[in-house]
Amino acid sequence: MNILNEFEYYAPKTKSEALELVKSLGSSAKVLAGGTDLIIMMKEKMIKPEAIIDISNLDELKGIVCKDGQGAEIGACTTIAEIEFSKDLEKKYSALTYAAGELGSNQVRVMATIGGNCCHSSPAAETPTPLSALGAKVVISGLAGERELPMEDFIQGNRKNDLQPGEIVSKFILPEPAKKSACRYGYIGLRNAMEIDAVNMAVNITLEDDGTKIKDVKLVMGSVSPRPLVSELIPGLLKGTELTEELIVKAGEAAQSEAKPITDVRASAEYRRDVVGALARRLVKEAYEAAKEA
């Protein structure tokens, strides 16, 4: 009944114990949190780790701390379901809680963690896109100490990220949303439930004090590039403007020109490019309207 390769199982009791293990076992070991990606990869024989370091019981890596006016911190082992149902997070970061609720199935969301979703570094992952748009930083811990990276710089390619040997992701830091700002997330897949996104996207817009001109905008695309793709054209196009229908169309075209979609089992490159345009138009408009109300 064993279909997994042989490995040693370690369940460290503290974060520092986990870091010692990650350091000493090196690349022969894999870190287990929710297991909804890792165990599948092991069953598929895509990876054959000699050791599993189970960090899912480490309270130090769990939990959501939302402070008034001071952003939020989310532990890496916080489950996707906890994020989905966090009223505190929903008030400030509804794009993230919505994206969390659209990940996998209920059972998967109960098991999967935000750290795992980011460290798996799938181009189609749900949470890195809104985390990037919201300006989240990834806190990476090793025995030598901690370092921080912007979310979009942490993921470097298809299942590649900046984690070095001996390091784990310990938490995510989200800045307080700017006044007069709103972030919106959207995705298109083959169906509503249990799908893997063909394209996902998040748009974060901050308005000037006048409540009409765009002060800042960040558009992030997922699943159309090996890593979260932050639009370079959109800020130049929209900053300082009052959004018009013409600008919305141009924003869609700008995002389409930057996306690098591929054809795979979920969608053709051509379809993905169309979806990028549609999502960009929809989300820019929605985020702008929501920022006006903020």
């Binding site: 009944m1 279909i3 042989e6 297991g35 165990i39 189970d54 609720g101 209920n106 998967v108």
Partner: protein, 163 residues
């Protein structure tokens, strides 16, 4: 590989089983402990047939290492009925009353997923019921009777007819 003795708390009973780290929870529950109500479908976390409650929350037995489940409270379908009288839980009865079971393979997972929902949510909407069961695949009934069974149970409970 050498086996080690672990203790699993399943339906409020402690079971000592010898496992390797590679042993998957659903296999241990079915083959070592002999509780075959939990089904194994895709083995990939998609179909939900292997759903069990761990500390009250629905999780996929096919993606859990058994060794990682020590110290946690596991509920399988065998633990849903009254442990003393053996009487079915009213949610189970509602599934029977509404014909929400056809081949029955998905039913343990359906019951456990919906039980976690009704335990944590006093009055779930149809949309919440649908979202909750999106990870439990049924290829017989078309879900309508399953939704009706859950809604009828929730209504009967709200009216104080059942617990």
């Amino acid at each position: 590989m050498k086996k080690q003795l672990i203790t699993l708390d399943i339906n409020d009973q402690l079971y000592q089983v010898a496992v390797t780290p590679m042993d998957i929870l659903v296999d241990v529950i079915r083959k070592e402990i002999g509780l075959t109500g939990t089904k194994k479908g895709c083995g990939q976390g998609d179909c939900g047939a292997c759903t069990v409650l761990i500390d009250g929350k629905p999780q996929l037995g096919c993606l859990k290492l058994a060794i990682a489940c020590q110290g946690k409270k596991i509920t399988t379908i065998e633990g849903v009925a009254d442990p003393v009288t053996g009487e079915l839980h009213p949610l189970q009865k509602s599934f029977l009353d509404h014909g929400a079971v056809q081949c029955g393979f998905c039913t343990p997972g359906m019951i456990l997923s919906s039980k976690a929902l009704v335990d944590s949510t006093p009055n779930p909407s149809k949309e919440e019921i649908k979202r909750t069961l999106a990870g439990n695949t049924c290829r017989c009934t078309g879900y309508i009777l399953i939704f009706e069974a859950i809604e009828a149970y929730v209504k009967a409970r709200a009216e104080g007819e059942v617990k």
